[in-house]
């Protein structure tokens, strides 16, 4: 790898050198630098790249005849903090830094940022702004402009220290450099002077009566740095917001995954749909039951044990088209954090994981848009500034045109059909003053499908969320979240003889949550707050359509309140040991109006064994549950880039999916805990080793976990759940157990990037009730429906030129368990198969390779839009991966079938544009 990189740098060097000789005539007087640069651009083939805010305000004049570009730039930038660098036909301006064409000898070590103490002739400063040691957060300042010829061993840093309150100089203030002997004291006018080695120095002030401040000074050349200190007895560190490449090693919590949407845009797609949730299944510990199956299984948990949040609002069914596509618009999604191990105390309500998905902020400065045209959907996202620099609105719409495809088919039986989906997301972000942010988000997704003319299915998610963040001061921040989510499905049936009806299900939850973050001191950061949610469930209703004799019926509404109070503390015991503790006390109350059925003791729960019915009035408490949830995680740095983390987490879940399917389906319903159905509870222990290598270019993690759960839901064989008023007669509650080891190696930078992930994991269920109908597999632990021990994924992306890149995605998984017949028998005049123990067999192993070629349009500024083509081939190997094997009785005889979703390579082309 190192050789390879060197090679690339070498190539760049060659090309830069070759084009360097050009000379031009140029004349300008009293022009801003930007215009001078524009003039150079017009005279040459070069293009300048820079951040406008870096350009100095001063005006420039000059006359050059047949002068080298280098000479001109040297003169121009002499008095500025800017450096320049040639890269092909581009000239990149940088502030402070010089871009070096080659790397120093020790670049691929961890220690390249160390201050060079010895006298050295050539000691370039390499400093990455985003990288910092973990201990404290300090502001970074860059001093001086690097100079190629500079070879000084000591640089002069001078400045003045004044009081922030009155501007008066602060005399006799100690200024020192951390971990070194260098230090000085301000004179009576507040002036100081230090001689620093080039590179990174942590300059600290120390006094009584003023705050102590530390700044990371990256010094390139002699320069100035002034301090303005507040009168304060407390230390006030500034919070620096920056992406943190060390988080893999340094965060206290293990088992956290981050997916950045920008980074996944090259990953091959199914039918052209970029899908952030699908990508998550390539990470260890996260899987789905099968290709095209909705729902995710995190560390051996059922699909309903994931808290999937879009801007803090729960999204109940984040899938379109059963599960082939996710319902999250890829263009409006900013990032996803997935907590599969340690779950911060402010999250709760589900056992296995949190998918914290955030919509990106709208551009508040200029109008922007993005779109895509694929074979299944069209997608358009617009960002509209509402108040410049303050407020913006983002709107994203995605819709299928499969409906249109169906209608244009010649096949008559398909023409009347409908199969479509769309989703809309809108987010308004407003920065009110410096300390307050307001985000308002609305989301709606809808799926409709109708294949036989007599039934129409539809389901929809609707979310509303309001998020108000206020910084009280530098140490204290508060957050108020108000959310509402609704999930509904409808079935419209208009048959020939049977009675026409419409039936439906709906769940609605409204939540309020406050979340405060308080930095007590350097050692302690507190998180605290409380939240409450009101659930209203319409478990099922049916009503006649037309002159149908169907009786309108509604399963009585369910209501419940879930509340929680939480406090967490990130305690830095010392430089190496960070402990994140949290406790969440959650409680749930099932509320009336409702009926509690008492079943006969010693008999299986059946409608016939109801001995008493207790009625509860509106909002009367039927039953309460609650308990503490412990969230503890600790990190110990073995080395600066190597850490070990351990955690224990316990969780409660008061809402359950009802499903008789082995995989998630849009007609699954959700049920609240009640007098009989207890909340689910889980404990997870995990231990991990994390290592970053080569300047965080590689991230390596190795984690193991053991998880137990109680009262997880399952169902009697052949349970009928929809429109069932005595659902408890069909439900079993049992134990779960899962464990596994996860390996992840990520290469985050470079032309070749991606990750390898492997997990070995097992997941078991035990259903050992009192009666035969409540016992599965003799009451022993048996593999869950998604127990897939070996799971290997590789995602790789290789950028071979600026415009072309190639991506590959390879997946291998053990086949999932299925219940296979153990014999046949004759009954009621026909043959049937007998099933016995659950999940005793497995379908064949699954593997798939996808490839995609990405072509970026050229980057000419005049072009209206930047474009991006993605040509993908899904399942290149044409592997006919069985999705299921099933047995049916046809004309009295048993026949076996195998299904697969994509059995041949599926090519797609998607066009993306951005303006």
């Amino acid at each position: 790898m190192r050789n390879f990189l060197t090679c690339l740098f070498f190539l760049i060097f060659i090309t830069a050198g070759a084009q360097n000789k050009e000379s031009i005539d140029l004349q300008f007087s009293n022009l801003p630098l930007k215009e001078v640069l524009t003039q150079i651009e017009s005279e040459t083939n070069y293009r300048f790249y820079f951040n406008e805010s870096w350009l100095p305000k001063q005006l420039f004049s000059g006359t050059y005849n047949d002068a080298g570009l280098k000479e001109i730039l040297n003169d121009l930038l002499e008095e500025t903090l800017l450096n320049y660098h040639f890269l092909d036909d581009r000239i990149i301006l940088t502030q402070n830094s010089v871009i070096y064409d080659e790397l120093p000898e020790n670049f691929f070590g961890k220690k390249e940022v160390e201050v060079v103490e010895e006298e050295e002739v050539y000691s370039p400063v390499f400093y990455e702004d985003v990288q910092r040691p973990a201990q404290t957060i300090v502001e970074t300042v860059n001093i001086g402009r690097a100079n190629r010829s500079s070879s000084k061993s000591r640089l002069q840093l001078t400045g003045r220290v004044i009081s922030a309150e009155d501007g008066q100089p602060i005399p006799n203030l100690a200024i020192s450099v951390r971990n070194s002997e260098i230090g000085t004291v301000t004179d009576e006018n507040g002036f100081y002077s230090l001689r620093l080695p080039p590179g990174v120095n942590i300059v600290e002030t120390r006094s009584l009566g003023n705050e102590d401040i530390a700044k990371r000074v990256v010094i390139y050349n002699d320069g100035q740095l002034n301090f303005s200190l507040k009168e304060d007895f407390q230390q006030l560190g500034e919070v620096v917001l920056e992406s943190n490449p060390d988080s893999n090693v340094n965060d206290a919590g293990g088992g956290k995954e981050e997916i950045n949407v920008e980074e996944i845009k090259n990953i091959p797609l199914v039918l052209g749909e970029r899908d952030i949730l699908k990508v998550s299944t390539t990470l260890p510990g996260i899987s789905s039951a099968g290709e095209g199956a909705a729902g995710f299984n995190v560390r051996g948990g059922r699909a309903d044990q994931n808290l999937i949040l879009l801007d803090n609002a729960v999204i109940y069914n984040p899938a379109h088209f059963f599960g082939l596509f996710s319902a999250l618009n890829p263009f409006t999604t900013g990032a996803v954090d997935i907590y599969k191990g340690h779950m911060p105390a402010h999250f709760g309500g589900r056992l296995s994981s949190v998918f914290d998905i955030r919509t990106k902020d709208a551009n508040v400065n200029e109008f922007a848009g993005e779109g895509a045209i694929g074979p299944v959907t069209g997608n358009l996202t617009l960002e509209v500034p509402v108040i410049k620099e303050e407020a913006g609105l983002l709107v994203g719409v995605r819709s299928t045109y499969s409906d249109w495809i169906l209608k244009s088919l010649d096949e008559e039986s398909l023409r009347d059909n409908e199969a479509s989906f769309y989703d809309v997301v809108a987010k308004y972000n407003h920065r009110i003053g410096n300390d307050t942010d307001l985000d308002v988000m609305g989301y709606y997704s809808n799926d409709r499908f109708n294949i036989t003319p007599d039934s129409l299915y539809s389901y929809s998610n609707r979310l509303l969320s309001l998020d108000l963040v206020h910084r009280f001061n530098n140490r204290h921040q508060g957050n108020l979240q108000v959310t509402n989510s609704e999930y509904k499905f409808d079935i419209d049936y208009a048959g020939e003889f049977t009675n026409d009806f419409r039936s439906g299900y709906g769940i609605n939850e409204t939540g309020v949550k406050t979340h405060f973050k308080y930095k007590l001191n350097d050692k302690h950061r507190l998180d605290y707050g409380l939240g409450a949610k009101l659930y209203v469930v319409n478990p099922g209703e049916i009503e006649p359509r037309g002159e149908s004799p169907i009786e309108a019926r509604q399963v009585p509404q369910e209501k419940g309140v879930e509340a929680a109070i939480f406090i967490g503390d990130d305690y830095e015991v010392n430089n190496k040991f960070l402990i994140s503790t949290g406790i969440r006390f959650s409680m749930f109350a099932a509320l009336g109006e409702g009926e509690e059925r008492i079943y006969q003791e010693g008999a299986p729960r059946r409608e016939s064994s109801v001995v008493d019915r207790i009625q509860y009035g509106n909002n009367e408490v039927i039953k309460t549950y609650g308990g503490p949830e412990i969230r503890v995680s600790g990190r110990y740095l073995l080395q600066e880039d190597l850490s070990v983390k351990a955690s224990y987490n316990s969780t409660y879940q008061y809402i359950h999916t009802l499903s008789t399917n082995t995989t998630a389906s849009p007609t699954d319903t959700y049920k609240l805990s009640d007098a009989i159905i207890k909340p689910q509870q889980a404990n997870q222990y995990s231990l991990g080793l994390y290592k970053n290598m080569f300047n965080n270019m590689y991230e390596l993690s190795l984690e193991g976990y053991y998880k137990t759960s109680n009262d997880i839901l399952d169902y009697k064989v052949g349970a009928q759940l929809f429109l069932n008023e005595t659902i408890e007669t069909e439900i079993l509650q049992g134990k779960g157990k899962s464990y596994g080891g996860e390996f992840l190696l990520k290469k985050t930078k470079g032309d070749l990037n991606g990750w390898l992930s492997y997990s070995y994991s097992r997941s078991f269920v035990k259903l050992a009730g009192e009666f035969n109908e409540e016992i599965v597999n003799n009451g022993e632990f048996f593999p869950s429906n998604f127990d897939k021990p070996h799971d290997f994924s590789m995602v790789a992306n290789y950028k071979f030129t600026q415009r072309f890149s190639l991506s590959a995605n390879f997946v291998y998984q053990t086949g999932r368990p299925i219940t296979y017949p153990v014999g046949k028998y004759n009954y009621n005049g026909a043959e049937y198969v007998m099933y016995s123990d659950r999940n005793e067999f497995r379908i064949p192993d699954y593997y798939r390779l996808d490839l995609s070629l990405n072509i970026e349009g050229n980057h000419k500024i005049e072009k209206l839009a930047h474009s991006f083509w993605n040509i993908s081939v899904y399942n290149v190997l044409g592997r006919n991966n069985p999705y299921s094997v099933f047995f049916v009785t046809e004309d009295g005889e048993v026949k076996a079938y195998k299904t697969s979703i994509f059995s041949i390579p599926v090519p797609t082309i998607t066009y993306n544009f951005k303006f």
């Binding site: 294949i451 004799p549 499903s659 028998y825 004759n826 599926v906």
Partner: protein, 392 residues
């Protein structure tokens, strides 16, 4: 009808995929991964005075064909203090020695001791309040995009009725041989000899029993009356309705548990939705092994009230023969086998004798014509004697 809808849901999943994606459902060879030997009991005691019937068999391997009858079992049903003993009428089929009928308010329990000495018992079952078929009728309609005749049953339900119904049927229909000729051919001393047919081979009656699980319930009804339960749909092209058709429908008023058993049996044996699969498992009936409580037992013992009705109709009642010709019950083509040599004639004579070939006349210039026996002899498919109940 909720259950019918689930059936549609499954079809739907399949169709979506086939139409939009490259997915597929393909038949595969059934492989015997393992075999578990279990006793299968099918027993319904009805409120009709008759020799009640209990069927006992065993499961057999997936790759084999059954059934595997269970003989030499001791079978009895107790109703309160009365004991009804059964004897094995034919392998695996046990009939009560005395005819009896199930009565209201009495708990019936099935007890079985198999030849290997294992004992089985059912939970006690009672006769649910039953209802009669109010109407059985045929109606021309379009169902799943096909035109045909639907056989529909209505139920007249009393207030107290259980509201759960299981149906079976026996259909009998007239078939007419596509080719008709009054002569047979024999080979005597190597030569063809025409002889007069001695029996009816043109018009026969075929009887078939239902193989589907047909269920209905009044759960979702505003009134208790079920007006139109689809029992069977016969497409217009079907040979069954090509002439005259009769169906006898039996309605069993069953308990909710029995209904649920059959419903699960049906759900598990229907085509699946590609994306969501039923959680399969052993369907729990009400029969358990006394000797070994963990031993799986297949089947359910039920007590049911029976109501039966029969209807007849002709092709012309619904269709016009000028519009289309229904399919024949057999596909025919005329054969001209070589008959020049004696051995060729004797070979044909042999086929005529065993009944695989039938004589279809002599054509000048063409020679002896033959056809598959079924084309001329309807007794290959049914009886040439009209059943007792048959009405023209």
């Amino acid at each position: 009808m909720i259950t019918r809808l689930q059936g549609l849901r499954r079809i739907l999943g399949t169709v979506i995929l086939v139409s939009l994606f490259s997915s597929c459902v393909e038949p595969i060879e059934i492989q015997t991964e393992t075999y578990e030997n279990a006793l299968v009991i099918e027993g319904t005691i009805t409120d009709e005075l008759s020799h009640q019937e209990i069927l006992i068999s065993r499961t057999y391997k997936l790759g084999e064909t059954g059934p595997s009858r269970e003989s030499n079992a001791t079978v009895r049903v107790t109703g309160n203090s009365t004991l009804y003993e059964f004897i094995e009428e034919e392998p695996g089929r046990y009939l009560s020695i005395q005819p009896f009928r199930a009565e209201q308010g009495i708990s019936y329990t099935l007890e079985i001791r198999t030849a290997d000495g294992k004992q089985y018992s059912s939970e006690p079952e009672e006769l649910p309040v039953s209802s009669n078929i109010s109407a059985l009728y045929a109606q021309k309609t379009t169902y799943e995009e096909e035109t045909g005749v639907a056989i529909l049953a209505g139920v007249e339900v009393s207030q107290a009725a259980s509201g759960y119904y299981l149906y079976d049927f026996v259909e009998t229909y007239k078939i007419v041989s596509p080719y008709q000729i009054n002569l047979d051919l024999k080979v005597i001393d190597g030569e063809f000899v025409e002889v007069e047919k001695t029996r009816e081979e043109t018009v026969c009656y075929t009887t078939e029993v239902s193989k589907e699980v047909i269920l209905a319930n009044t759960n979702a009804q505003s009134g208790n009356d079920l007006e139109a339960n689809l029992i069977k749909f016969i497409p217009g092209e079907s040979h069954k309705t090509a002439h005259r058709y009769s169906i006898l429908v039996r309605q069993f008023s069953i308990s909710a548990e029995t209904y649920s058993y059959y419903q699960t049996l049906r759900d598990f044996s229907e085509s699946e939705n590609l994306f969501s699969q039923n959680q399969l498992g052993l369907i729990n009936g009400n029969i358990f092994s006394i000797s070994d409580p963990d031993e799986p037992v297949v089947g359910i013992f039920s007590v049911a009230g029976v109501s039966r009705k029969r209807i007849f109709f002709n092709f012309e009642d619904f269709y016009d023969r000028d519009d289309f010709i229904p399919n024949a019950h057999v596909e025919c083509e005329v054969l001209f086998p070589p008959t020049l040599t004696r051995s060729q004639r004797e070979s044909i004579g042999e086929q005529l004798k065993v009944g695989s070939l039938k004589y279809f006349g002599f054509e000048m210039g063409g020679g002896y014509r033959f056809a598959k026996a079924g084309c001329l002899d309807c007794t290959k498919y049914g009886s040439n004697i009209a059943p007792d109940f048959w009405e023209e």
